[in-house]
Amino acid sequence: MAKPPYESEREPLRRRFLSEGDAAGTLAEHSRLAERIVREAWDEHLAAAFPSGLCLAAVGGFGRRELFPHSDVDLLLVSAQPLESSSALAAFVGSLWDRGLRPSHGVRTPAECCRLEPGRPESCVSLLDRRYLAGDQELYARLDGALARWLRGERLELARSLCRGARARHARFGNAVQQLEPDVKESPGGLRDLHLARWLERLEEAPAPVPSAPAPEAAPWSLLSRVRCFLHYRSGRDDNRLSFEAQEELLEQGFARWRDPGELMRDYYRSAREVWRRALGRLEAWEGRGSSLWIEFRAWRARVSNAEFSAARALVWVKAPSQFERDLGALWRLFEFAGRHGLPLARETERRVEALLPRLRAAWAQGEPLWPPLARILALPRVSPALRAMHQTGVLKTLLPEWGEADCLPIRDDHHRYTVDEHTLRSLESLEELPRAADPLRRRLAGLLEEAGDPTGLRLALLFHDLGKARALEAHTPHSAGMAAAALGRIQAPPELIEHVCRLIERHLDLSELMHSRDPEDPATAQRLAQRGETLERLRELTLLTYADSSAVHPGGLSAWRGEQLWRLYLAGVRQLTRELQTERLPRLAAPSPQLAAFLEGLPARYLRAHSEKAAEADLRLCEQALKRGAAAELAPHGGYWSVRLAVRDRPGLAAALAGALTAFGLNILRAEAYSNRQGMALETFAFEDPHRTLELNPGEAERLRVLLERAALGRADVARLLANRPPPLRPSRRARIEPAVSFDSGASPDATLVEIVAEDRPGLLYELAQAFTAAGCNLEVLLADTKAHRAFDVFYVTAEGRPLTPSRQAALREKLLAACRPQTTS
């Protein structure tokens, strides 16, 4: 009588699973069913042909009695002697296929079982889950003995091979647990990692691991197995990808308790994260074991340690745990250490931090100042390792509860690959990788990043840019900005920074939208971009934000093609905003007061985009003081640099005099802006460094500088004489030197010529350039100067006798400007 096919026998199991969702029972039943079929085939085809010298073992998932509906049935035929081709064996395997099983079998001698093939540890490790099925029991006992002896000697090599394979597999999935459509078997945190952790734990057993009944599994196994089981039944094959469609269908099953796919996936990610951490803990433990002397020496040489923390095997460890647990401040230092050295925390360190969370919540609820330590971390060259560590240990959502809303939050669209939290952290990473990029496009963007200076605002904007998706998937931007304002306000971040971050978040999709819908060469696009970007500085940050956001959508998120589009758009915006410095002047506006309206009239449109109403009113008061006493200056420290705002009636040579006075005081100008309004009042703003801390350490010096600047503005200070006493500046090394470039654009404005200068920065450069303009009979209508590292970028709108510069005057001026860029200095 023909035996029933496997398919029809397992159909009741399928129906029962889809109604009850009992994965453990289903897998065990499948194993029992497969085992019965395999034994029947053994009895029919092999028992008589091999009364001794051959035995059959179940290995891998079948050995563990965890046979998924469409998984291979892993079988090992152990032969006392190397086995030539056998018709009985062929009939045995053929009959299994005929019954509908998918056997995956190997025929090996005990000696062959004790051999690690390079790059294929699975064949050996699957033997850890072996169990006897049929045949020569004495031979099976010999295999047990041989394996025990072999594992005693080779377990380290086997574990290392497993670790290497696991790391390669994790890398294939971008080391991300939170994939939107994960492979529940192979993705990080999937079932394979659960088995990996179990194998690595069992390899610790002394004197050697022995096959045993699997221990009862915890929640992660139950959920992952249930999902995998469903995926197999759904597709009728060994398909383990939990696609969006599969998520929807899973919800329709009788056993599903989730209300929507988001809830299902959050449950999945929590389980997968638990598995991932367990696997990482095991990997780290084995990877650090039994290193060769040379590897130990290299690790010692590469180690970056301080009194509290050490970095070993590319992970951060706590040196004195008891001390760490007493001092909550050490937590901030730990994350700073991780960020500074770009290293993740060891799993053991994570556990120590997690244990501190209840105390941390209590301490932070008392109103501990939280912004200063976070600001220190955000200003590090690399912030993402610190933020990732804070996220993984739960510290970030304790600090910013809004972040908790994005924890494991899936986004269901056709282009994102990761959850909101993972996408956000990856966007920060992609920004930090820019300086190391080799391709021309990213090199240019790296230049923008360098120009952007303090990255705190940009990083905070990235951290919050998509959190609003937790509250509204469509039109999430206002929610994200609101959450940023609430969270940053709570930890007492500076109000102007919060405003800046919110503005960036509100506009973070602008460039992407324009890229897809507008011609970058069309002047209307540039105008629109300028209106949205508002200032060169903000456009630069929005470009970087768009780059980072797009790069983190999926591994190829920002192709060279798309990057080129972004760069073209940025350039169009830069051209427009530079042109507008002169051409877009403010008309008479309906301001809150007639005085303010009169003050604003004639200033470049940039002024209103870059200044709040409060700041404009402060500038108006400065102008009113200047009208009374000739000139008025105000200095302010900003933690790391100073600024001065000065109002005076405009006159030729004003910018040169002020730049010279600052240089003569030993200060290094970082940025400068100079505008004049319809009334002829000039408003000059300088940001400068005080490298010798003169102003900070000598309170009277700030007042002396203010007075000097006012006198210089009124032409009552001999700046040239003051400068003559300054020592010549040192130049950077030859390799770091920058060739000066001067370009003229007469088409940028009908009334003035645009002059752009890029040169190597040095104290006094702006003064000498301004002097060169004055000496050539030119008047500076607008000045916008910026400095990054030792590169200066200066934009001037210049007139001579009230008109744009003639070609001959441009030629003469070029020589003077180039000469000013190359001073006689010590080298």
């Binding site: 021309p440 240019r444 230049g447 120009e451 890229m515 897809h516 819908s517 507008r518 011609d519 970058p520 060469e521 192709s559 093609w561 798309r562 080129e564 589009q565 073209r568 350039l571 830069v574 000066p740 470039a741 370009s743 752009e756 200068i757 890029v758 590169r791 970028f793």
Partner: protein
């Protein structure tokens, strides 16, 4: 059957897709490409550094349609992709010898 290849400006993609959808053409292949025709490239200067932009970003659409519909499709692409400026792109129409749907081995227009 005709294969229609259209090289268009990237920002016109949505408009062209909508126009094709409007005449019942849903199936197409879209590729991000770079190149230039008469538009050629140009030099850009940023922060004193000059670089050549010789291959400009474009989008290539490919679709195979019954011969009787080819003109209609070309007209739809022309109308929706045109700005009137240099760089609008090109349309190529090619003969197709055979089409086969891999899933069920349908052939000819039935496979489209």
């Amino acid at each position: 059957m005709k294969k229609i290849e259209a090289i268009i400006q990237p920002f016109k993609l949505e408009e062209v897709k909508e126009a094709l959808k409007g005449i019942g053409i849903d199936g197409m292949t879209v590729t991000e490409v770079r190149g230039h025709g008469r538009q050629k490239g140009h030099r850009e200067i940023y922060r004193g550094q000059e670089y050549q932009v010789d291959l400009l970003p474009k989008v290539k659409l490919e679709m195979v349609v019954p011969e009787a519909r080819a003109d209609e499709v070309v007209r739809a692409v022309l109308a929706s992709a045109r700005t009137g400026k240099i760089g609008d792109g090109k349309i190529f129409v090619l003969e197709v010898a055979e089409a086969i749907r891999i899933r069920n081995q349908d052939r000819g227009e039935a496979a489209l």
